[in-house]
């Protein structure tokens, strides 16, 4: 059993960004969430971690606890003007050990240093996060995920504004997570990355267009259907009557 969606609808001002999505992610494999802009991909991730409340439907964690989930936000969600150093930010990945008040401790510190080493930023511990490039900052966020040591890893557009070398290094981390049988779910825009690293794909355009093995999902036919359903708000859309919820 793995994390599953049961008829999820999440909307902004009554306009659904995710519309009646159901299905189950395959445990221990990498799933890419693919689709045009405005297809509700990031919204779906936020609903899965509980940061957005669905209007309708449920996310079943099925055996995963909150501690088992690590989440990579988009960079724009983080205020990098704050006077925080790299090591401080990565240490927040120990939250489940420290909680709001506990101390990091020697073992925690060692884990943080090891994670920074893994992403190639061992020398950067004491740099302020405002002094990093977007690629370096993305490595820092990946280091935090390494520290979280979670069974379920959710990545929201992990390779946006990141150069080829950094993308390659970070994808190697994803490959390692896959080998360690962790479940990885990532919102992606690059067709080649999906084909090379992600065995499963969820193709969505507000509704789920196709979901399953990547080669079966990413067909020309499905991609065309996704683009055609591309998510424009219809200002005067009628009330949705699926499930009779509005009757």
């Amino acid at each position: 059993m793995s994390i599953a969606l049961e008829n999820i609808t999440v909307s902004y001002q009554r306009h659904p960004a995710v519309h009646h999505a159901s299905g189950q992610f395959v445990e221990g494999e990498c799933t890419a969430i693919f689709g045009p802009n405005g297809a509700g991909k990031s919204t779906l991730l936020k609903a899965m971690i509980g940061a957005l409340k669905p209007d309708h439907g449920k996310v079943h964690l099925n055996g995963f606890k909150r501690n088992d989930i690590a989440y990579l936000p988009q960079q724009s969600e983080i205020d990098r003007s704050l006077p925080v150093s790299v090591i401080d930010l990565v240490s927040t990945g120990l939250w489940h050990h420290t909680g709001p008040f506990g101390r990091v401790g020697r073992e925690g510190h060692a884990r943080v240093c090891a994670a920074l080493e893994q992403v190639g930023l061992a020398e950067f511990q004491h740099r302020p996060i405002s002094a990093l490039s977007s690629g370096q900052f993305q490595r820092v966020l990946f280091a935090r995920i390494v520290v979280q040591d979670a069974r379920l890893i959710l990545l929201d557009e992990p390779f946006n504004a990141v150069d080829a070398k950094t993308t390659y290094d970070l994808l190697e981390l994803v490959r390692r997570w896959r080998d360690e049988k962790r479940t990885v779910i990532a919102v992606l825009h690059d067709y080649e990355q999906v084909r090379a690293y992600f065995s499963q794909t969820l193709l969505m355009a507000r509704e789920i267009v196709a979901w399953g093995q990547t080669e079966k999902v990413l067909t020309d036919d499905n991609l065309l259907r996704a683009v055609n359903r591309a998510a424009h708000w219809q200002e005067h859309a009628p009330v949705c009557r699926v499930d009779g919820e509005a009757a």
């Binding site: 971690i49 909150r66 205020d79 927040t92 709001p100 302020p128």
Partner: protein, 294 residues
């Protein structure tokens, strides 16, 4: 010997000779310890104007306290605290349940509160009372007021050190905080309560309007000198206390009203730092330093 004597007269004897000056000095230290860190968190959370809004919001509560109990510090402080927390709560609810952003909600509710406060004060007291509530007087700080200010500083420092991590993380990376299962809103409300508490503490000494000055000016100045949170905290407390001492001496020697003297001095330090601040000041950017190899 002459110099030592002159220095003594200038800096020490005002405090050594007069008990009200000593109380004012202790009051300034306590205010600096509480308000400095609170102001810094307001600046870091991009809520610099929130302190101003809250300082207006406490007015009707203080007025009600004044109506019921006269010029009594406990009554006015309690009233101010209740009014401030009420405004913070209502603005928080409005932000949560409508599409309005937090700044808009705060602006709306503090204006409501301010108008109500002015109405209450002008209906019942004289202008002198209004001036006292708005501008306070640090030289009139008595024993109970001092105990109030010191208690608030103690509570502030203790509570801030406890909620420091979630509070910082909530402004740094709110979605992550939600993802690990912590409610950001709770820490935020606790923090707003501390803001109100410190404004109420500054109230007797500096008045509702000036109390914000000691909260914000040193904190903004600190961002121009330090790059770590610890360094900023120390700087902001230092600048606040230094302005307090300096302002008291200026007010003593030149017979100036003490509140504005303190805040203006903090303002001068800020203006100086704008130009010379080591981190982010205007001039250091133009000083040519040899760049490093890598």
């Amino acid at each position: 010997m002459m110099v030592a004597h002159a220095l003594y007269d200038l800096f020490v004897s005002p405090f050594a000779d007069f008990a009200f000056m000593r109380r004012a000095l202790a009051g300034c230290l306590a205010l600096a310890l509480g308000s400095g860190p609170i102001g810094l968190f307001l600046v870091m959370r991009r809520m610099s104007l929130m302190g101003d809004a809250m300082s207006h919001a406490v007015l009707p509560g203080a007025a009600v306290g004044f109506l019921l109990a006269g010029l009594s510090l406990p009554a006015m402080s309690l009233g101010g605290f209740v009014a401030g927390v009420l405004v913070a709560l209502l603005a928080g609810l409005a932000t949560r349940f409508t599409s309005l952003k937090e700044d808009a909600s705060f602006a709306a509710f503090y204006l409501l509160s301010l108008a109500l406060g002015v109405l209450l004060v002008s209906k019942s007291g004289s202008n002198v009372d209004l001036m006292h509530i708005l501008f306070g007087s640090v030289l009139a700080v008595d024993q109970p007021a001092l105990i109030l200010v010191a208690s608030v500083a103690t509570v502030t420092l203790l509570l801030l050190s406890v909620i420091y991590r979630p509070l910082l993380l909530e402004s740094l990376d709110p979605v992550f905080l939600r993802a690990v299962g912590s409610r950001g809103g709770f820490w935020h409300m606790l923090f707003l309560m501390l803001v109100v508490l410190n404004l109420v503490a500054g109230f007797q000494a500096l008045g509702t309007l000036m109390a914000v000055g000691l909260m914000m000016l040193p904190a903004i100045t600190a961002r121009l000198w330090a790059s770590s949170v610890g360094g900023m905290l120390a700087t902001s407390i230092g600048v606040a206390f230094g302005s307090g001492v300096g302002g008291l001496l200026l007010s003593y020697h030149f017979e100036l009203p003490s509140g504005p003297a303190i805040i203006l001095l903090a303002g001068l330090v800020y203006l100086f730092s704008l130009l010379f601040g080591k981190v982010g000041g205007a001039l250091p950017r133009y000083v040519r330093t040899r760049h490093l190899e890598g």
